[in-house]
C-alpha cells in the first residue's frame, strides 16, 4: 500500500503556484522533500492536511482521500510543522492530557518516556521553551499516538547536530515497521541524505526530480575536467556544470562518462544545487 499518493496537485497564490505535483510514498519508506525557501514544501504539507484547499488534483493518505473524513485519517498521522503551534501557556503535562482526549491511541507512557529521554521539563509553560525544545515536544507528540505516517516540515531545523542525529535515528527506527512511512521536508539536505529512501526536489512549485536516493548516487558522478573535455560528453547526460577559471566541475550520468576521466562520487546536496541553478537559468 502507498502511504501517500499525490496526483496532479495544483495550488496558486499571487506570486506562487504549485504546478501539477505528483508524488507517491510507499509504506515502509522515508521520503525527503528538498527545496529552497518558498519552493512549496510547506504549501505541499498544508495541502496534504487540507489546511489550505487544493485547486486541483487529489491527495490520498493511508488509502483514503484527504477530503473524506480527514479527522479519522489524522488519528494515524503524526505531524510536526516548522512552527509548533502549542498555546504558550500550556505545559507538556497539560498537553499530554489534551492529546489523550484527542487521539484514541494516545500512549501516555510512551509520551512520558519521550519527555524524559529528551529532557523536556514537564511543568514549564511552552512559551518559555527554546526553539529546539519546542520542536522536541512536537516530535514527542507525533510519536506518542501509534501513528502510521509522519509528516515533518523542517522538523530538524533549529536543533543542534547531536540532537538532530538522535531525532533522525528515531524517525529511521519508526520505519522499521513496514506499515510506517515518513514524509519530511528540510533544507538541511545532509539530514535527508542520511535517512531517506526517496528524494524529491521541489523548485518554484515544480517537482524537478523524485528518485530513489541510492540510485541517484549510482547514476550520477562528478566529473572534474577541462571545458574541452566536457564537450566529449553528450549534453543530455549533463545535469549541471560549474565553471571556474581553471576547469569545470559537472554532474554527469555515469554511463556517459568515457573511461579514464577523473570522477568522484556525488552527494545529494551537490546535485540539488546544480539542478536548481540549471533550472533557474532556463
Amino acid at each position: 500500500m502507498n502511504a501517500i499518493e499525490i496526483k496532479n496537485l495544483c495550488k496558486s497564490y499571487p506570486g506562487f503556484s504549485l504546478d501539477h505535483l505528483n508524488l507517491t510514498l510507499p509504506s515502509g519508506c522515508i521520503m525527503g522533500l528538498i527545496g529552497e525557501n518558498g519552493a512549496g514544501k510547506s504549501t505541499t504539507m498544508k495541502l496534504i492536511l487540507d489546511i489550505i484547499r487544493q485547486d486541483q488534483g487529489t491527495v490520498t493518505l493511508l488509502g483514503r482521500d484527504n477530503r473524506d473524513r480527514l479527522q479519522l485519517t489524522k488519528q494515524d498521522i503524526g505531524v510536526v510543522l516548522d512552527e509548533v503551534g502549542i498555546c504558550g501557556c500550556l505545559n507538556p503535562k497539560q498537553v499530554g492530557k489534551i492529546m489523550a482526549h484527542a487521539y484514541s491511541n494516545w500512549d501516555s507512557q510512551t509520551y512520558a518516556g519521550y519527555l524524559k529521554t529528551m529532557a523536556i521539563p514537564e511543568n514549564k509553560p511552552f512559551q518559555s521553551f527554546s526553539r529546539g525544545m519546542k520542536m522536541k515536544l512536537g516530535i514527542a507528540i507525533a510519536l506518542s499516538h501509534r501513528a502510521k505516517l509522519l509528516l515533518l516540515d523542517e522538523a530538524t531545523s533549529g536543533l543542534d547536530p547531536v540532537i538532530r542525529d538522535e531525532i533522525l535515528t528515531m524517525f529511521s527506527e519508526f520505519t522499521r515497521d513496514e506499515t510506517h512511512a515518513v514524509l519530511m521536508s528540510s533544507h538541511i539536505v545532509s539530514d535527508l541524505e542520511k535517512i531517506c529512501d526517496y528524494i524529491a526536489f521541489l523548485h518554484r512549485g515544480k517537482l524537478l526530480l523524485c528518485q530513489e536516493k541510492d540510485r541517484l548516487k549510482e547514476e550520477y558522478a562528478i566529473v572534474h575536467c577541462t571545458t574541452e573535455d566536457l564537450q566529449v560528453i553528450s549534453p543530455s547526460a549533463i545535469q549541471g556544470v560549474k565553471k571556474t577559471a581553471y576547469g569545470v566541475e559537472a554532474i554527469v550520468a555515469r554511463s556517459a562518462i568515457p573511461s579514464g576521466m577523473a570522477i568522484s562520487p556525488m552527494d545529494i546536496e551537490q546535485l540539488f544545487i546544480f539542478m536548481v541553478k540549471e533550472a533557474s537559468e532556463i
Binding site: 498544508k46 489546511i51 503551534g85 498555546c87 500550556l90 497539560q94
Partner: protein, 209 residues
C-alpha cells in the same frame, strides 16, 4: 472535542486571571453602587468575549494551524469555542445572580420577577456580542475581527445603557416589559445558535496560512 474544551479550560485559567480581578471589582461596585446597571452587566459581557480572547491568543501562538494537524474537524474546533462561551457566560450569570440576590435581600427589595428579568437581560447581552463577533473572527481572523468589534462595542455601549435604563424604568410601570425581555432573550439565544452554524460553515471554507 473534549481535548479542545480541556485546552480552553487550561487557557482560561491562565489568561483570564486579569478578568477575574476586574469581575470581582465590578461585582463589589455593583453591590455598593447606586444600581448603575453598567457594573452589573459588564462582567457577563466580558465572559461572553472569553472565546474571542482565547482565539486571539491561539492565533498568536499558531494554535489554529496546529489544531488542524490533530484529529479534529473544523466544526469541532468552532463548536468548542461556542461551548466555552456558553460555559463562561453561564458561570458569570450565576455569580451575578448571587451578588444581586445578596444586594436585594440586604436592601429588602428582593423580588423573583426583578431578579429573573435582570438575569435574562444580562444573558441576552452576554450572548448577543459573541454571536455577532465570532463569525467575523472565524471568517477574517482575530485582528480584523477585533477592530470590527471595538467599533461595535463603542456604538452599542452607550446605546444599550440608555435603552436599558428606560426599559427598566418601564418594568415598574407596565407589565409588558417582562414579555419584551423574554422575547429579547429568546432572540439572543436563536441568534447565538444561528451564529454557531454560520461560523461552522465559514470556518470550513477558510484557508489557513
Amino acid at each position: 472535542m473534549k481535548g479542545l474544551l480541556l485546552k480552553d479550560f487550561y487557557s482560561v485559567c491562565k489568561y483570564c486571571r486579569f478578568f477575574a480581578i476586574v469581575v470581582g471589582v465590578f461585582l463589589i461596585v455593583s453591590y455598593f453602587g447606586d444600581g448603575n446597571l453598567f457594573f452589573t452587566i459588564y462582567p457577563c459581557l466580558i465572559a461572553g468575549m472569553v472565546p474571542i480572547t482565547l482565539i486571539s491568543y491561539e492565533d498568536r501562538d499558531k494554535w489554529h494551524i496546529f489544531a488542524q494537524t490533530l484529529p479534529f474537524t473544523r466544526a469541532q474546533i468552532v463548536s468548542a469555542k461556542y461551548i466555552t462561551g456558553l460555559c463562561s457566560v453561564g458561570i458569570m450569570l450565576l455569580l451575578t445572580a448571587i451578588a444581586q440576590t445578596i444586594q436585594m435581600v440586604n436592601a429588602q427589595s428582593f423580588l423573583w420577577a426583578d431578579l429573573g428579568q435582570l438575569l435574562l437581560l444580562i444573558l441576552s447581552i452576554g450572548l448577543i456580542f459573541p454571536a455577532i463577533a465570532l463569525p467575523i473572527v472565524f471568517q477574517f481572523g482575530v485582528e480584523k475581527g477585533r477592530i470590527l468589534f471595538i467599533v461595535m462595542i463603542a456604538m452599542a455601549g452607550g446605546g444599550t445603557a440608555a435603552l436599558i435604563n428606560v426599559e427598566l424604568a418601564d418594568t415598574f410601570l407596565a407589565g409588558k416589559t417582562a414579555l419584551v425581555i423574554v422575547l429579547v432573550c429568546a432572540g439572543a439565544a436563536v441568534l447565538y445558535a444561528l451564529s454557531w452554524l454560520l461560523s461552522i460553515q465559514l470556518y470550513k471554507r477558510r484557508q489557513l496560512r
